[in-house]
């Protein structure tokens, strides 16, 4: 048995909260197989470019109780190669493709070696995240055709959609192969809004980095900034008290609330039931105004500080109850409409096995029968005893609709619970800083799913690398799977029920 195998086995027995294993590329597969057999999930892969050498960090997570193991692998700078983990986990394969595009690290043995992030007009061999990389002066023709696998057969035709759409939505190109109205195959092409967000974090002072984290995905200001904040606090050894956790949980649940309400309305709207959407938009506006009273910003920006939180007020029990009643009226409208229910039921099924293999997170995972919720597995605050994550097993649009409805109720309960506790509205960093490791990770169950950030600081104390994983990154590959045998006019409904972020995915 190799030394690394034994070290990984020991981790499974001792179960420390945090652990780091330094290893060489040859040991990676061995360590991974042990950790994954022990129940760990690969949540993040982050490449780092230091003077001359490259380093890849694999973050494995398990919980409850919250445990994180990092594998640090050194790779030579001249001919960077790592053994591919794509046969262990599908998400690993996608992380490797991302790394190959941005850093030029070649995953050896990958089953699907094609570009992921960079479109075809970027020159070959150009890797924007490599140190010293400059923008290329010569671009390939933008008009090169997208290399899509062709589907042939009697009566098969192709429908290209986007990246510019008829509505005001983010850019994505979807290609459908269809027989009659039934989808045979669908591929999504994303990364039209890739803007190098991770690079923008490098060397930034912490306050403006927090502002940037709030803007990673506009509808997830709290989710991303809190994950970033937790990662920085871990890296710098900043200790927070229970009250801080409660105030932060209030913000996370408020964000879940307004987004889920909007999604429930939008799902009805996409099936032509505009009345329910009108009610949902009224309720959403009420929630946005509540957000403004709580943080001073309708999208909940500015409520977090390193080591603390600063709120202006907390939602009152009467208001929360009224919001709940208003929401139940809206859901009753949708449930009473047989056409809407018919559109939702059995549409776009993502089986439990497919959801597990692809590694989806959050609402989509819970609607396909997976019990994944970072509020339970990797909490930053104590949950009330009564909290149970919502779970539905059918994996169709209806299940994703119901998970959102359930979570609105559970968020309202959580809010009522946290808001009723005694304590200050504002907490500043007061505890003494612990010994700092210079790197840390933050995990938050945002409204879409689990958000993971990992940061590193260099020896001068400057932010040297931030890696962001939005749940959308894991969700997008599941969309085509759910669409098999769905009809084309139901695609928008299925897409909306996933409601994945383009900005959070493309970064």
């Amino acid at each position: 048995m190799s030394a690394i195998h034994a070290a990984a086995q020991r981790l499974l027995v001792e179960r420390p909260r945090r652990a780091v294993l330094e290893l060489v590329p040859e040991e990676l597969c061995d360590a991974t197989s042990v950790l994954m057999a022990g129940g760990f999930r690969l949540m993040l892969v982050s490449a780092h470019n230091e003077a001359g050498a490259l380093r890849v960090v694999y973050l494995f997570v398990d919980g409850p109780p919250d445990q994180r193991v990092e594998l640090h692998v050194r790779v030579s700078g001249d001919d960077p190669r790592i053994p591919s983990l794509s046969h262990f986990s599908f998400p690993a394969g996608r992380f490797e493709r991302e790394m190959r595009d941005l850093f030029g690290i070649e995953p050896v043995g990958h089953f699907q070696l094609r570009p992921l992030v960079l479109h075809q007009h970027w020159p070959e061999g150009w890797h924007p995240m490599r140190a010293g990389s400059v923008a290329p002066t010569v671009m390939n023709l933008d008009a090169l055709p997208f290399p899509f696998a062709e589907v042939e057969g009697k009566g098969v035709y192709e429908i290209p959609v986007g990246p510019v759409h008829a509505g005001v939505i983010e850019p994505g190109h979807f290609r459908f192969w269809v027989v009659g109205e039934t989808i045979v195959r669908m591929k999504a092409r994303l990364w039209f809004t890739h803007k190098g967000v991770e690079r923008l974090f490098e060397g930034r002072d912490l306050d403006s980095a927090m502002a940037l984290a709030e803007r990673v995905s506009g509808d997830t200001a709290v989710g991303h900034s809190l994950a970033f904040c937790l990662a920085v606090e871990e890296a710098l050894g900043i200790v927070t008290d229970d009250r801080t956790g409660e105030l932060r949980a209030v913000l996370v649940e408020l964000e879940r609330l307004y987004n889920h309400v909007a999604d429930v309305g939008a799902l009805c709207n996409d099936s032509g039931f505009a009345l329910a959407n009108a009610h949902a938009l009224t309720l959403r506006e009420r929630l946005l105004r509540l957000n403004e009273r709580v943080t001073g910003h309708r999208l909940l920006r500015g409520g977090l500080t390193f080591g603390g939180a600063a709120l202006r007020s907390l939602p009152g029990p009467i208001e929360l109850r009224e919001i709940g009643e208003q929401f139940h009226e809206l859901v009753a409208l949708a449930n009473a409409n047989s056409i809407v229910m018919d559109r939702f039921t059995g549409t776009g099924i993502l089986s439990t096995a497919a959801a597990r293999d692809i590694g989806v997170l959050g609402v989509v995972a819970r609607a396909s029968g997976l019990e994944l919720d970072a509020r339970v597995s990797n909490p930053f605050v104590d949950l009330p005893e009564t909290f149970r994550p919502s779970r539905h097993d059918t994996g169709d649009v209806l299940a994703r609709f119901q998970v959102r409805c359930d979570e609105v109720d559970s968020s309202l309960d959580l809010l009522a619970n946290y808001a009723s506790r005694e304590g200050a509205l504002e907490v500043r960093e007061s505890e003494p800083r612990a010994l700092s490791t210079g790197h840390g990770s933050g995990i938050v169950e945002g409204w879409r799913g689990t958000i993971v950030h990992r940061v590193e600081f260099d020896l001068d104390g400057a932010l040297s690398r931030a890696k962001i994983v939005d749940p959308s990154f894991h969700g997008w590959p599941a969309l085509p799977v759910a669409l098999a045998d769905t009809i084309v006019p139901d695609f928008p409904l299925v897409n909306k029920s996933f409601n994945l972020s383009y900005a959070g995915n493309d970064l």
Partner: protein, 320 residues
Amino acid sequence: MSTLAHVISAVVAGVVQVGVVCVGGPLLLGLMRKVRSRLEGRTGAPVHQPLLDLRKLFAKQRVSPEQSSWIFPAGPVVLVATAVAVAAISPLATTHPPLGQSSDFFAIVFVLLLGSVFIALGALDTGAPFGGMGSSRAMTIGALAEPALLVAILAMSIPAHTSNLPALVRLGLVHPAVLVSPTRILALGSFLVVILAESGRLPVDNPNTHLELTMIHEAMVLEYAGPDLGLTILGESMRLMLLLGLLVNLLIPWGVANRPGALLFGVGIVVLAAKVAVAGAAIAVFEVFTAKLRLFRLPELLAGGFILAVLGVVTAVVSR
């Protein structure tokens, strides 16, 4: 009155009917949107907003896709032309329209559908994927809706011994008993389902959607812009007004002028506007509380329309 006077008054009536439908169609659209907005708790645009939109569109430059042929601009023109022709000879405000003898129910409805066919051809002509998708869906729905319509007209014409439209309306005025006969009610029920399908209203098609993959009618007109789009909107709204006008006149014929005369004709116009407005508002109210059917469920709805029409024929034959 001399024959010449008859001809002149009929022509004037025809011209006025065309004018009323041209203005009334967009207003009907605006009214339906207003009703929906108010019921959904929104203020909504003013009722005459579609007219303002048309003015804006007609002032714009004409744009056609590069690869398209003469079919593409011809689509909206044929759509409006067929609507104008039908508006002139239909018994909307009077049972004595010009060319009333040739105002056959079968002919009128299928002249209107000629417009649909040309819009579908225009959409195919662009070569864009959505045009073809919309056309294919619209023609599928048409193929299911039209048999129902044919049988419904047959049912109504059996008791009247004619399919002449002014005669059918006149029959209701002279013998109100036919209005409550099961034949007429079943056939008009079927007609209503066909109207919803042909004019792209819920639960068949969602006229307000921005989701290009779910569109039926909107997908066909996606490539039109400027004056061509204006003609399309005008033609579609005129068609909706015509179909609704025929429906309400067959259902409740009172108010339609049965004798020549400016005053009676004027009253006929006002009553027509009121009846169509009520019918349009009723459809809008229905739309607020319904949703869009799954595409593969549409045959069930349209088959229901067909069954109504067949039952109409059966009752007509039995009660002879």
